[in-house]
């Protein structure tokens, strides 16, 4: 199991050929109180970098991009029912969706956890 991050502040936890995607602690802090989240429906084919989900704070709407390509296999109903979960546990219970990777090699271009934490702490 490996955890990676994007420069757009998504995280992706890869286990075999499936992965779980969400937004980072840094992202939730920057957004502030989250009041709405919409994750992609199972079956949807996502390309790397494509707009996959929407997250809205009190102040503004933001897109969540898919860190890699693949097919959505599950989305998290809990964040639709209780968007604040993304604030309280962004890298755990506040996950957005799971997908089946279509190109394992795409993971190679992502940041590992320590690089991301170091980079994002300087923003």
């Amino acid at each position: 199991m490996s955890l990676y991050f994007t420069k757009e502040h998504e995280w992706i936890r890869v286990e075999g050929d499936t992965a779980t995607v969400g937004i980072s602690e840094h992202a939730q802090h920057a957004l502030g109180d989250i009041v709405f989240a919409e994750a992609p429906a199972p079956g949807r084919q996502l390309k790397k970098g494509e707009e996959a989900a929407v997250v809205e704070s009190v102040k503004a709407a933001s897109d969540v991009y898919s860190p890699v390509s693949g097919e959505v296999v599950e989305n998290n109903q809990a964040i639709a029912d209780e968007p604040a979960l993304i604030n309280t546990d962004p890298e755990g219970e506040g996950w957005f969706f799971k997908l089946r990777l279509s190109n394992q090699a795409e993971v190679e271009g992502l940041m590992d956890e320590s690089s991301y934490r170091e980079w994002s702490s300087k923003l």
Binding site: G32, D33, V35, F36, V54, E56, V58, K59, A61
Partner: protein, 376 residues
Amino acid sequence: MAEADTPTLTLPLDRWHRAHGGRMVPFAGYHMPVQYEGIIAEHLWTREHAGLFDVSHMGQLMLTGTGVADALETLLPGDIKGLQPGRIRYSLLLNEAGGIIDDLMVTNVSQGADEAFYMVVNGATKHGDIESLSGRLPSSVSLKHLTDRALLALQGPRACEVIDLLFPGVTEELSFMQGTSREWNGVAVGFGRSGYTGEDGFELSILNSHAERLADSLVEDERVKPIGLGARDSLRLEAGLPLYGHDLDEQTTPVMADLGFAISKRRRTEGGFAGAERILAERETGPVSKRVGFTVDGRQPVREGGRVLDSEGNEVGRVTSGGFSPSLQKPIGMGYVAAALSEPGTRLTLEQRGKLFMAEVAPTPFVPHRYHRKKG
């Protein structure tokens, strides 16, 4: 309209906000706190206790000179001549076509025969307002921009108790839309019982040099927490109050903006203010489009720039403010719609980023005002 090369300025309480954990953002040309602990918590705190807002970015103006009330009536549609000393009125600075240059609060602070009016205007528009006022008022009127003063607002159901402890007598003296002043630590503090949240509350004008001391004295009370711009916006939206530059602009008339109450009764018959002909005619015939409040089905807010569509997909209006209401736990907003769609209960179709939303015209305020009005 701020030029890109204009540096962002700091306000007297800049250091104070940072020390209290304020997240600073550029707004109206200044570094200002958008939030401290979080917008929703701050919003709800203000509705239940008392919130302290720094609104020192706003323009504080003093207009003096013989005939200043008469002169102001040529630019504002309110009854300024009938405004008694110590009374505050919400009014609009109009252009010659009847469009709104700014919305503002004006207080009669005349002492005896010396006429004086204190005006609070929006931060982002203050320099334009000053230019417009100086250019259009007669030379007998003197206009002073009180740049040496900060402005704090204490808002919420407990604000009255807090002010009463620090400034005995003030809360008893003032009802909603009344002003007074007190001496405090050797300087004058101006009070107005008004605000921008829909709650009872006070605005306090004080010299920059004493602003930090006043802010400290206020937050020392456990009923008071500092509140950022984010909650200020969600509170005023719930209160149905328009925000200049978003819900009001120079193309908007008071009638379109549903601010007909700001055109005082005497002025409706007499006219004599900028754009009066158009505005009074529009009052008779009704505006083509009108500002309304709306609620959105579901949980996703429709924000400024969202389009209002008719059943054929034609644009029949625009969203000018929108967000999530922390008190009501649902998306609310305001915008302009064709007059035929402006009745509360009318179903609307909204479009934002290619997605359609169902909404309904709602009476405003969304959350009832709780101003302190004296009985009788």
